[in-house]
Structure formats: structure tokens, C-alpha cells
Symmetry: C2
Subunit: 353 residues, 2 copies
């Protein structure tokens, strides 16, 4: 009974053969389906929890479990270490996602959670924007031009015909290198413009925020006149104390969290009272007719990131890997033909399958 382990090389081959555009399209479609059914009894999504620490470096390792009843539990374990890029040449977010069969407890598969976190966070913004942003949005703003900005841009470029991308990063190197990195997406006919945070906000139809702003830092922008229909995907606020947007800006917008229970603890909704918070994204996806008018006013998707998104990402990538014959199959759990002898594997042949 083996576990499928996808290596970087497996995922590399997978994305090269599937194509990153089709991968993103299927991720967006899969997430949409998941939000269409979420809230019914089939999904259990307990709050994530984790270890926060300041030594040896400021960091966080958290576990994000979800269970699809009668089928599979998925757990992402993800680290957030903002010193990683500068000090170690590593991404801020490093993680893996694992799937467990709820019939036996067997670890079915383990896959990357770094690329997939970026992929699904971008896809979630595309889903929210499809329901809340103007259909003809053409100008995308990005505050925070790091790893997450690339998949925000990619996902939104699959849903909208973007002609202008305005971007800003407090880190000059990140801002300077952004067009090159975005260039790997082959977005022909899109103009890239570095700008101040204020310029980005005032000239966007859709804005994505995805920064490593510090706890207690001021909002990314204040008192900027926005387009009346601006839709914001606020992806950076995802743990206690970390927020990117001005509370008064939020109060003048329809705020749609991915998961209210989590957003009030870890998202922009930390700054709002219950009656200032709008419906969850699943409600919006399930009742699109109620939100037609919302496309012409200001809306904020408070994207804290939920394990359901990782569950969809893992199953998408595992099923594609299976179709393509990619991945290593390793028996990790040690047992033998005699389940009642822990030392049986020393004396008996390994069971097949």
C-alpha cells in the first residue's frame, strides 16, 4: 500500500505537459465547484492552528486540516518565514500537502504545498473576482510584487482581458524584478507599470494585495480615491495581527471572507465587527444573482486561505499525475501481512499494492 510522492521534477514535468494556463484554469474550475457545495455537511474544516515563534527566526508553522466526509482528509503543513527570501534564497511560504484515506487512515499522497499554495491563492482571487468585479475589468493593481503576485496576476489574466498591470513593492528589488518574473507567463499585450501604492490603487479595476507587512505596520494605503467598482483581493492578511487594509476602507466596501470564523481571527475581518462583514465566498458563488449589483460598487475578498483550497489543489495535481504516470510510489507505513505484529515486516514479504 504505497504513498504517491510528487517530487519537484514530477511537478515540473506535469506542468510542462499540462501547461500552466490549463493548470490554472482547472484549478479555478475545481475551486468554483468546491465553493458551490461548501457549507453542506460533506466538508469539515476545523480552524487551523500552529506554532508561532521568534527564535531562531520569526516564523510560523501551521497545520490546516480539512475532511471530505467518507472520502479523504487533507492536511497542509505550511511554514511562513519572511526572512527566507533575503537570508536563505528560499520562498517565504514552504509547505507540503498530504491526503489520507478515511477508510483506513493510509497516507495516500504527499505533494508540494509551496507552488500549490500560490496557485490556489491566485485561483481563489479569480473565483471571487469573477463574482464581484466588473466583467470588463482591464486594469489590475498589485501591491506586493513577490511570489503570490505572480499567481494573482496569472489567475486574473485567465478570467479578465487585462491591458494594464500596475504594481508596487516596498522592496525595490522585488518591484524591479517583477516584470521579468511576470514575463514567464507570456501575457501578450499587457502593459506593466511600476507605480506608488497610491497610483496602483487609484487606477485599478481589480487590486490584489499580497505583502509580508509586519504586525502593527500602518495600512498599505489610506485616503485614496478608487474607482467606484474596485474589487480588492486581500491575500496578505493571514495571521493574528497581520492586516493590509485601512479599517475605514473596509467599512466602505462589501467585505466577503473565505471563511468568516477564520477571517475574524486572522484576516482583514479582525478589524471589523460582525455586522460589518458580508457573506462568505461560498454564499456568493451559490447565490450569484444577489451580487450582480455588487460588481458596480467596492468589494473586498478577505482571502485568509483555507484548507479546502489545498484539498482541491492536491486532488487536481494527484489526478493529473496519475493520468500522466508521474510520481513515485513508496510504501512508508511499516507493516506486513500480519497486521498484529509490528515486527512482522522483518520476517514476512511486503504486502502488494
Amino acid at each position: 500500500m504505497t504513498t504517491t510522492v510528487l517530487s519537484l521534477d514530477d511537478t515540473l514535468q506535469l506542468v510542462q505537459r499540462i501547461g500552466h494556463d490549463r493548470l490554472m484554469d482547472e484549478m479555478i474550475a475545481g475551486l468554483t465547484r468546491a465553493f458551490q457545495t461548501f457549507g453542506h455537511d460533506s466538508i469539515q474544516l476545523p480552524p487551523r492552528d500552529g506554532f508561532h515563534y521568534s527564535t531562531p527566526t520569526t516564523g510560523l508553522i501551521e497545520w490546516m486540516p480539512v475532511m471530505e466526509q467518507g472520502r479523504q482528509a487533507t492536511i497542509k503543513v505550511v511554514g511562513y518565514h519572511p526572512e527566507n527570501p533575503r537570508q536563505r534564497g528560499l520562498p517565504t511560504i514552504l509547505g507540503t500537502i498530504s491526503a489520507y484515506d478515511t477508510t483506513t487512515g493510509h497516507l495516500v499522497g504527499i505533494v508540494d504545498g509551496t507552488f500549490l499554495t500560490a496557485l490556489r491563492t491566485g485561483a481563489a482571487s479569480a473565483v471571487a473576482s469573477r463574482y464581484l468585479a466588473p466583467v470588463n475589468a482591464a486594469s489590475l493593481g498589485l501591491i506586493g510584487a513577490g511570489a503570490q503576485a505572480i499567481t494573482q496576476l496569472h489567475a486574473l489574466s485567465r478570467e479578465f482581458r487585462l491591458t494594464r498591470v500596475l504594481f508596487h513593492d516596498a522592496d525595490v528589488d522585488a518591484e524591479l524584478s517583477f516584470p521579468d518574473r511576470a514575463g514567464t507567463l507570456d501575457l501578450h499585450g499587457t502593459e506593466f507599470i511600476a507605480a506608488t501604492a497610491e497610483e496602483v490603487v487609484s487606477e485599478s479595476d481589480i487590486l490584489c494585495t499580497a505583502t509580508s507587512t509586519a504586525v502593527g505596520a500602518p495600512p498599505l494605503f489610506t485616503d485614496v480615491d478608487t474607482r467606484p467598482w474596485l474589487h480588492v483581493n486581500a491575500a496578505g492578511s493571514d495571521f493574528e495581527g497581520k492586516v493590509e487594509l485601512d479599517p475605514s476602507f473596509l467599512r466602505e466596501s462589501l467585505v466577503v471572507p473565505d471563511l468568516k470564523e477564520q477571517a475574524v481571527l486572522q484576516g482583514e475581518c479582525q478589524q471589523l465587527t460582525g455586522d460589518e462583514i458580508g457573506p462568505e465566498l461560498a454564499y456568493v458563488v451559490q447565490h450569484p444573482d444577489e451580487f450582480v449589483e455588487a460588481r458596480s460598487r467596492r468589494t473586498v475578498f478577505d482571502s485568509t486561505g483555507i484548507a479546502l483550497e489545498d484539498h482541491v489543489a492536491l486532488n487536481l495535481i494527484l489526478s493529473m499525475a496519475d493520468e500522466l504516470g508521474l510520481g513515485q510510489r513508496i510504501q512508508i507505513e511499516n507493516f506486513s501481512d500480519d497486521p498484529k505484529n509490528p515486527y512482522g515486516f522483518l520476517f514476512e514479504p511486503v504486502p502488494a499494492g
Copy 2:
């Protein structure tokens, strides 16, 4: 930056080369050291949590996190599916243990958690028995003769010169097959005797209980005269509602939980009030002089199983694997030389290390 994955074959080679006796001895020694320092600030051990369900089968998948400050977080994800042996030829307990570097969030290694759970649970009983049972204990009783009984027996045989092993299992097949399974341990000069639960209890110096008794079932035994110095390792009570021992039996014993906070929710201590519960095992290990007298009276180790034990087991097996050059090194997390481009791995060489 690779993850070490130990396959069944790796662990098989490891145990064959190290020897299962030395492995158990080092596990007991490692656990003893861990309990000698536990309680000081270096270890964070939040309560385990999990998914309980009754469809498609009765089961539980839980995550057990622990962090050694400034070094490593360890998470075991473990399933408990009592129908596994009979219906699927699989162990009741299936699991894997993963280690994360708290500097970067990187998944350092993933190893079996099925054999290692049995190994560390046995070792924990040996540690408790070393401090609480008579030094010359010679008669071991086992109620529940499944997988866990094998490692209970093995661990205790490393600490005590056992001449008699009395065993009982409500499942006739498990009882009948026990001597054969125990035979793989090469315990020369030890007599094996199948008996009723009552006989097992009354004739033991040390008793280990490790059954899959159902929630709400009566105690494994009641009103049995025991040897005055009987030490019990109660390993089977490990989730809400599941207990093996009679509360009046517990009240007449010194009850030492592995982790009080967890034992009152998931162990035999569910049946006791706070003042009926003795000190934790770490306290006993750190203050052996206070428990010399306890060796001549009745004691119970309430072993719910804690992530600290899995942390020790994982590090032991990973360091042995490293010494022996065993294990596969796989880069699972997807990133490239450019940590700010999630698609960078499609275009750039994989970073070394």
C-alpha cells in the same frame, strides 16, 4: 533542499542492521532523556486534535504536533480504524511522522508512524515501569494481544528479566496467534500462558492493557485481587470515552499520566477527579527518590501517547538512517533559484542541496 523519505524497505534494512533489541534500547534511552527535560520551556506540546467519524467506517484521523523550540516541529498524523485488521488485513493504527525545520519551514523528513507508534508506546511503558514497578518484576500480563502487545512485551523484556508472560485477548484468533508473533522476539526462557483476563491480572507483577475496547464497554476486569505491587501500563485508553480500567481500581492506585491535560480528556484519567490523579511521568522521572515507595504499591501509567514520544522516535530513526546511508532524498517543495517566482521551477535549474 530535499526531504528524507524512509520507505518500508529502508526501515527494514535499518532494523536488520541495528537489531531490534538495540533499537528498542535506544528508544527507551531517548525517551528517558526526553522525560528528564520535559516541562521546561523548550518543548511545546499542544493538545492533539482530529476527525472522528462513523462513515464509511468507524475511524479517527488525528494530528499530534510538538515543537522543540529553535530546532524542529514534529507532527504525527495517525489513523485509528479498528476494522482494519479483520476487514482489510491492515493494522488498526496507520500513521506517518514528519519533521519540519523551524528556521525555514522545510519538511526535513517523513517516516513511518505505524511501527514507530508501537515502538514508542512500548518504550514509554518500559520507562514508566522502570520507575514504578518492582525491580525484580518477573511476571508480565497482557490484556489485548494485538500489535501493541508485542512491543509492550519487547520493551519490558529489555528492562526486566521476565520468566512468565500471561496473555488474554477477547479475539480468540489474536490470543491463539500471540505466542507465534511474540516468538519473533527471541525471548529465550520465557513461558507464555494464555489465560482469562482475571488470571492475567491476579498473577502479574506488571500488566499492560492495549485493547480496542469499545466506547461504553465495561472495564476489562473488575474485583480481582492483584499483587500489592502491581504496576499497570494502561495503553489502550486514548480517545474520548474509551477506557479499559475500573474507576475504583484506579482510585486505589497511584495514577501517573503521560500528559495530564490530555489524559483527563482521552485517558483513564477521564474517570478521575483532579485530586485523584498523580504526577505526570516526567515528574516521576525527574524525582525518582520520591517514588521508591511506590514500587511496592499499586501504580498505573495512563499512557495516552504523546507527540513528544513520536518526536524522539522520528529523530532516532532519522539519525540511524543517516548513519547507515538509508532513505530516499526527494525535493518535494517546488521552488527555484528565484524564491519570488512560483513558476520559476519551470524555467530555472533546481537549486542544489
